[in-house]
Symmetry: D2
Subunit: 335 residues, 4 copies
């Protein structure tokens, strides 16, 4: 049994991770931590766990972590996480970090969108945890940077095109809509129900932090610099992301060719399904699947992908990474 | 033209009042006030007013109020309002108060559910602003206590029965579901979209402050003490309240008799519609109407009513009261 | 491995059952049937199964059923089911029937609310599949009548009171709100999104077919005739039912006593959780749990229960029953 | 008073038009028609009109139309409308047609996306009813082709850029999300609440009929051929459309310059508001306003627009056109 600690267990990615591990035949919840004033019985924080998990959320203690856990899912926010990850690693556990702190290899770029980086050493050794594209890196690390929700769906949508040079690496548009859980658990005016319901709006125009992350991933796949415009929107639903991508083909290509290409590219990937009609967010809700529909329209290559932002975009992908780290079947607990 | 000031204009009842008055042919927005740190252009507070109303929200100044307005809609919270209403009245304007502070005539009862009352003098002179039941009182006052949202729908549902002694005055159950706007504009965990969406839950079991208000109104109509259990729930929609009431008939009564009785009781009321099938909240959304369906089932009298909590349950009713105070046609601006 | 056939697999209870069985370590989907014009690959009917289950839905063939399956989940509609169940049983499989056809023991009562009953023989042998109340009956049958969604939540809420004589067996009010999936998969005007969204309404006043089912169950528990008024509403959410019950105590009783009683009554029941604050539908979404909050208010006993209408109210409960029929741990596949 | 007939009054655009006219000081509902089997009291079709409009919906009779009405709002579907419009015009009324039948001037293009056109004569004389861009044409016609919902928002977003040659006329991406009311009133699986809720999906990839309409309008404004890719999505809300447009600038341009340009371009347009932050669909719900936010990001010109699909995208714009046709203030009844 893999003994799992969740650091920062009081948020949405915490409870999603707990729910997956409760169904996982080879993993168990060993330790839950949060800030002292958020420490209480886990069923008081998450009513849906009542009767399912009898455990207190506790303040983080490194000795306890070392004694109880084999792996830590670090669900702390961006900028906070890099203050804790070195300590977690020092206890000997493997770490899967949900924040952006270890995702961007170019420190200057990280610092432009975030803050000065305080843990460059571990950053250099971290693997980017998108198994479909970087599985071999993940196998060889003890620190996985779990990808952002938007970059997961967008990168899976674009990778086959860029890997094969089928689209121009510039001028790519990624227009995404996320469910509100992507904004986290803290109440705020823009996610207050009477404002958010019956509403949809864009945000982060030209400045969203997932844009450089997407460029890094897609450039890595393409083997050359990719520039893209990522535009997120938030819509009135709990969970899910649809990413609609528009790009310019480098030559003639048909929808049938794209379908064949994508099926081949993802032939061995259990969680990527190539569909032949526009995908619906609801079909991947509460699952670790990504549905992708590649096609052409009006001279553009158009690819849609849908994921659950909290599962394939966060906690499910983390467990997928955990399975890789511990040599378990990659789909265990996720089907 | 009736010149209208809105005191505490930055909340939901403020903007609903503004929107109604913008369509009102004999009234105009003259003055908008809020706490100093909420003062800005009204279109910055309420994006839907952009291009429709060019006015600043300002800190309250009594001289300005006296100079600019004929009536003040006081949208301040319970307990706060009674600190301001005497000052507003002192300027000579009429006041329609949205809070609970002037609704409950029994000071002891008020103080049991709220706090010590600091303006008993005006309380004695205030009229309860439910025009269908207390129109004559409203005509003779300069201070209207605008009813609570739940008491409006529930009282209109039960009044014909109690007035005519058709149900027992005890053991009445009122089980209501409100939209989330009833909880106001301040973000909080229970109204955070990812919690509230796909959810419904009861609250205030046995202790909701609208229960004594309902008992006061229905007792007044019945001419004897009425006791009832009011149980509110909140559901995943913006606006509207359905109140499902269950009571014991004092004798034999049929659905047809009830339909005839209700049609007669409300024959001259433009905003009350008696329907012959279960009513839907959506049919009264954004309107000042109340739809009522009285019937019998399994030996109980069952009456359903639906209103828009922000219109008939707040701002629309306030304008209806304003029309009465200023001898305008009661439906003006509300159809 | 228990080999499971699903008869009438193309509806919501079909896919919910499939998803549970896919996670069940000791059961497997062996056979899926539907009407001929609804037969296609299961992932075409349910996009969320793409990549997860590679099976065709086929027209029902009894020999195939006999060869492939140990148990049939019969998801056919009321009135249709009793035409098939005898045939299913004749193949030797055990049957868990989701319709109302085998729930009501009083044939006259069944026929009053439905149609003439055509399979009285099996009706007599069927067990009512609410394990928390009728587990011993279930163990001894090969035909389980899976309970209705509303009766499940309401009966669990009221059983401890009626078993112990704490409330009067008459005049009980059950006011429930269901999510829209309870209305099934067929499009219709009242469940069309632009009508249903931002809406809530009652239906079936005094005539809902679950009312006699509830009376049968609660009378059985009470050991005497129970009469109640059940009033359903439908609200703008996918899944879940809240039942708010109001009844008259036979003597003095406190919330604390009720809490203790309920905890004792359900002490050994893994899927019933007694909570100490009003329960939220969202906390049981996608789970087989029922949360119950018993309390007192204004001289009434008030008990709230929440379930997922498609899980504890249908497919989850069916798997719970299946586990009992096959001597598996009752919670297997459901936690 | 302008006497208004509504032909095909039983759908969403019918009731929206009715509601606006009920508030319009210089117009009145004179005649409502529908197919014979949809004829009933208007309040039976639209429960929200109970007590507000006492009129029967009747089968269309041309003599009655001639006698009762000055203008007909023709709310019939595409392809059906052109069979009726010549008859309506023959009675002497002016016609505002909601269908696509008179929008596309290029008959070949119309016939490619729809069916053979049967009324080329009136097509030639119809004005495209987007007042902000074609007001003078509207003043001189008796047949207005009311624009499509998507083309309204998208054209208003792009017109200032194309008129001034600030963007390339090729490669424009318009990625839109509409509320479900855009799909009309007929129940169907993809708009069934349990499917549509918590969902979002694209449709009509490369083939949506509003794409050529957009190209016609924008080409007309640009004075040269414009080609664009329009990609619609449908999201879980009743009403509203957000269009996010991405295009390539022809030269250097800043967000500040765009803001100034747009403010100047729409300076005299009461219903177009230029905003300085991402717009929200909710801010234009139930209104005839269009909010536009032009900016630049990553080398692209990015412009967002939001409208209410049923108001500015249909019925409100029709009344705006009606006001023009009858020399009434253009905003009458719409503010």
């Amino acid at each position: 049994m893999v003994r799992v600690a969740i650091i920062g267990a009081s948020g949405y990615t915490g409870v999603e991770s707990i729910e997956i591990i409760l169904r996982h035949p080879q993993a168990e919840i060993a330790y839950l931590t949060a800030l002292p004033d958020e420490c209480e019985h886990v069923a008081d924080t998450f009513g849906q766990l009542r009767g399912r998990l009898d455990m207190e959320i506790e303040p983080l203690d490194l000795d306890t972590l070392a004694a109880k856990a084999d792996v830590a899912l670090c669900c702390l926010p961006h900028k906070v996480s890099m203050g804790f990850v070195p300590k977690l690693l020092s206890t000997g556990v493997k770490v899967i970090d949900f924040s952006a702190d270890y995702r961007i290899k170019d420190v200057d770029l990280y610092e432009k969108f975030y803050v000065p980086h305080t843990d460059r050493e571990n950053l250099a050794n971290a693997a980017y945890g998108l198994p479909e594209l970087f599985r071999e890196d993940i196998k060889q690390t003890n620190l996985v940077a779990n990808p952002g929700c938007y970059p997961t769906g967008a990168s899976l949508a674009l990778a086959p095109l860029l890997k094969n040079g089928l689209i121009e690496p510039t001028g790519i548009i990624i227009s995404s809509v996320t469910g509100v859980s992507g904004g986290g658990k803290n109440p705020c005016p823009i996610f207050h129900f009477p404002y958010m319901n019956e509403n949809i709006y864009p945000y982060g125009v030209g400045v969203h932090r997932h844009m450089p992350e997407m460029e890094q991933v897609t450039s890595s796949v393409a083997g050359k610099d990719v520039t893209l415009l990522f535009q997120p929107h938030v819509g009135p639903f709990d969970r899910g992301i649809i990413s609609s991508t528009y790009s310019d083909p480098t030559g003639d290509v048909t929808a049938e060719q794209l379908n064949a290409l994508y099926n081949e590219f993802y032939a061995d990937e259990p969680f990527v399904q190539i569909v032949t009609a526009p995908p619906a967010v609801k079909n991947v809700a509460k699952s670790n699947y990504c549905h992708i529909f590649p096609t052409v329209a009006k001279g553009k290559v158009v690819v849609f992908s849908v994921i659950d932002n909290l599962i394939k975009g966060a906690s499910g992908q983390a467990i997928q990474n955990m399975n890789i780290l511990f040599n378990l079947p990659e789909t265990m607990g996720l089907e």
